[in-house]
């Protein structure tokens, strides 16, 4: 049971990280995520 709960939390965190990565790439296609290149730019 504890494996299920902890595993669920870990995979939820990983899923959120994947979503944030995808969102960042979509919004800033030429950004690596740092403040220097966090500006929006068109594809």
């Amino acid at each position: 049971m504890s494996t299920l709960i902890v595993g669920g939390i870990v995979f939820a965190i990983l899923a959120f990280a994947a979503y944030r990565t995808y969102k960042n790439r979509k919004e800033n296609p030429c950004s690596c995520g740092c403040s220097g290149c966090g500006s929006s730019c068109k594809k």
């Binding site: 902890v6 965190i13 990565t21 030429c30 995520g33 740092c34 220097g36 290149c37 966090g38």
Partner: protein, 715 residues
């Protein structure tokens, strides 16, 4: 209905600082011209109906470079509801040149006299009311850095936008010129419905082709305009563009006398005095080298090193894994889940985050250098060296920006007019170590070289050397041949770094690094852990029998001549393509950082056992120079436009990295008595080829014949 306000002004006049102030954004602000190369949009704080557009800096509405085209096209085609013209009040005359052009666009304009704090400090005064009367638009005194006058400025801009009353362009030109422009205006009025007739008339007078192409005129009208221009040119004995430029400056000089009162007649400022030493022909380079040595010494070896040791040894070495393991044991979770959390996530992400203190110190030092005005001098100093090799110092601005991150560095290459120089700059920009490469430098310095002080500065100078050597070699090929573009750069005045600005810049870069560690690096670490823990049948196995080892062993022989042909180093290099920090994260997982910490053994000692100092240095050089992360490759693709040039860039970077690492390792091995292999012969031949390329005569297009020469001329 929303209101659109555009921020327009000269480069480095404070547009982005004002933009951040107005919108609450945190766009990167650099203390040198050419930082903003794309327009950026934000909404006004407290009034989301107002859209603010930050435009790249322009000196005039006659664009020469790509980012200047962005600004002009926006102002002409998109026609914002109002323009805030940010004027650097400490350089009033030069900045008003653009103002005289903006007034002709037929849009409401509000002039923001920025940097008034600098003007007041120098004892000079500007009569804003008189300037407003002269220009025929509101003039507001502001200090974007201190937030002074910003509310009044916004209010004036909103009122101007709502009134929809365009500024009445002042007739700046004298006699014959004004007469010709009036007549061109009349011809245009008869033939085409244009809202900003005055501006179009002036542009037609200047023979601006890009404007003329968009305004179709009957042949007869075009011929009449041409005859008017020719008559004026004959009368004034100058070309029409120069006539207009001279007239504008004459107008400004004539009227500014009663507006700007200078306290001191002396032209020697404190900045000039500092520059006489810092940019001195003899002292400039040693000072630059000393400054960068101190920066890397502080960030990697001393302050940053001490803090990183604590974070690595205590926080991510004992505290976090210790508590996490105890918690997982008490919960009785499955072994694979414990391994994922402890070895994959804590081991991988913790290894990367361990270098955060060093990165923060580096970002702090760079922010201080930048805000003080010294960074801009480095481009000036490098121009002297670059020029000797046929390169332009203009290429160094993207490289300076690249010390933070390669992506904006690559994008900043747009400020370079020459296509050849621009492509060459895109190829070489990522040779300079970006923030993400610092953990790799710090890892090698700490794990292999006992935190030797020379590793950091040497890594930086290897980047600079790779840029110079590449520039010299590439310039001798027909793809990049040509005279260096002239480099004129306005050096910002020195000032004491502002604590708030420096800390904010450091915080933003640091927090972005943490966010990156929590997203893409976390994902990469989980994937690497999975691949290094399971085999093809999805059974948990030792790393040496894992899927990752199988993949790594396929590519590892490629790197054997460089001295690090084991699969772990090969895999780390490839994961660096996702984000350079992943090189460290991968080592953290594969060398069992978490297990090492449990044993109480010094962190990274297992890594040291696998690499000789020479092999580790070769690994460092390869990873500093090889293809950058995917985000930067994407930026290269965007700037190069074609897949062919993107491929050339990546192939060149990777080849140079391979050759440099091969020479270092093989010749290093031969000279230190480590052995002489056939690879050493190849390394010697490659070194000889590089020397030949450096000494070779410059490429001469006149030697070409026929089609090849024609193609080059067209290019």
């Amino acid at each position: 209905m929303s209101i659109v306000i555009a921020l327009a002004g000269n480069p480095n006049s404070g547009k982005t600082t004002l933009f951040n102030d107005l919108t609450g954004s945190s766009q990167y602000v650099g203390n040198w011209p050419g930082v903003t190369v794309e327009k950026k949009e934000g909404r006004l704080k407290g009034n989301k109906e107002v859209v603010v557009q930050d435009l790249p800096g322009i000196y005039s509405l006659s664009p020469y470079t790509l980012e200047e085209v962005v600004s002009r096209n926006y102002l002409i085609n998109e026609r914002p509801d109002a323009i805030i013209n940010i004027v650097d009040a400490s350089n009033l005359e030069r900045n008003l040149y653009l103002t005289t052009q903006l007034m002709e666009l037929g849009l409401p304009v509000v002039v923001a006299l920025n940097m008034m704090d600098v003007v007041e400090k120098s004892g000079d005064t500007i009569n804003a009311a008189k300037l407003s009367a002269l220009l025929g638009c509101p003039v507001i005194e502001v200090s974007a850095v201190k937030g002074r006058g910003v509310k009044e400025l916004v209010q004036a801009a909103i009122e101007a936008a709502q009134s929809k009353t365009a500024c009445e362009p002042r007739h700046l030109f004298e006699g014959k010129v004004e007469e010709s422009i009036d007549q061109i205006e009349a011809i245009l009025r008869d033939n085409t419905p244009l809202s900003n007739l005055r501006w179009h008339a002036v542009k037609f007078f200047e023979r601006d082709q890009s404007v003329a192409e968009n305004v179709p005129l009957p042949n007869e009208a075009a011929a009449r305009i041409e005859s008017l221009i020719t008559a004026c040119e004959d009368a004034l004995d100058d070309d029409s563009e120069s006539i207009v430029t001279n007239e504008r400056y004459t107008y400004i000089t004539k009227h500014i006398k009663g507006i700007l009162n200078k306290k001191s007649s002396s032209n020697i400022t404190t900045s000039d005095k500092i520059d006489s030493i810092v940019t001195n022909r003899v002292l400039a380079l040693p000072i630059f080298a000393a400054v960068m040595f101190v920066v890397y010494y502080l960030s990697i070896s001393s302050i940053g090193g001490m803090m990183t040791d604590w974070v690595n040894d205590a926080l991510f070495g004992e505290f976090v894994p210790g508590y996490a393991e105890a918690a997982l044991e008490s919960l009785g979770t499955a072994e694979w889940l414990n391994a994922l959390i402890l070895d994959g996530i804590i081991g991988g992400v913790g290894a990367v985050l361990g270098f955060l203190p060093q990165m923060l110190v580096l970002f702090l030092c760079l922010a201080i250098l930048e805000d003080s005005g010294y960074m801009a001098r480095i481009a000036f100093i490098m121009d002297r060296i670059f020029r000797k090799f046929g390169l332009s110092g203009k290429s160094f601005i993207p490289i300076l920006i690249g010390t933070g991150c390669g992506v904006p560095g690559i994008m900043a290459s747009r400020t370079i007019e020459s296509e050849n120089d621009r492509r060459m700059t895109v190829i070489t920009t990522t040779f300079i170590p970006c923030g993400a490469k610092l953990p790799i430098i710090a890892l090698i310095a700490g794990a292999i070289f006992d935190e030797a002080v020379w590793v950091g500065p040497v890594s930086y100078f290897i980047g600079v050397a790779a840029i110079i050597l590449s520039g010299v070699m590439l310039k001798k090929t027909r793809f990049f041949a040509g005279d260096p573009a002239p480099f004129v750069m306005e050096l910002p005045a020195y000032h004491m770094p502002r604590l708030k600005g420096v800390l904010l810049s450091t915080y933003e870069r640091g927090s972005a690094f943490v966010k990156k560690a929590g997203t893409i690096i976390l994902l990469a670490c989980a994937l690497i852990w999975f691949l290094s823990s399971f085999n093809g049948s999805f059974e948990m196995v030792d790393a040496e029998e894992s899927l990752l080892a199988s993949i790594g062993n396929l590519v590892a022989p490629l790197f054997a001549p460089l001295g690090w042909g084991n699969w772990k180093a090969a895999v780390a290099t490839f994961t660096g393509l996702v984000a350079k920090e992943n090189v460290v994260g991968t080592f953290g997982i594969l060398y069992g950082m978490e297990e090492v910490a449990e044993d109480g053994v010094e962190i990274w000692s297992t890594l040291r056992a696998d690499y000789t100092p020479l092999a580790a240095f070769s690994f460092l050089v390869f990873n500093l120079l090889c293809a950058p992360c995917f985000a930067a490759i994407g930026a290269i693709r965007r700037e190069m436009v074609t897949a062919k040039w993107t491929f050339i860039a990546i192939a060149y970077q990777t080849s140079l990295a391979y050759v440099a690492a091969l020479i270092i390792y093989q010749l290093g091995l031969a000279f230190t008595g480590g052995g002489f292999t056939p690879w050493a012969v190849i390394a010697a031949i490659l070194l000889a080829f590089i020397i030949y390329m450096l000494l070779k005569a410059p490429y001469d297009p006149s030697n070409l014949k026929g089609r090849q020469a024609k193609e080059l001329c067209q290019h």
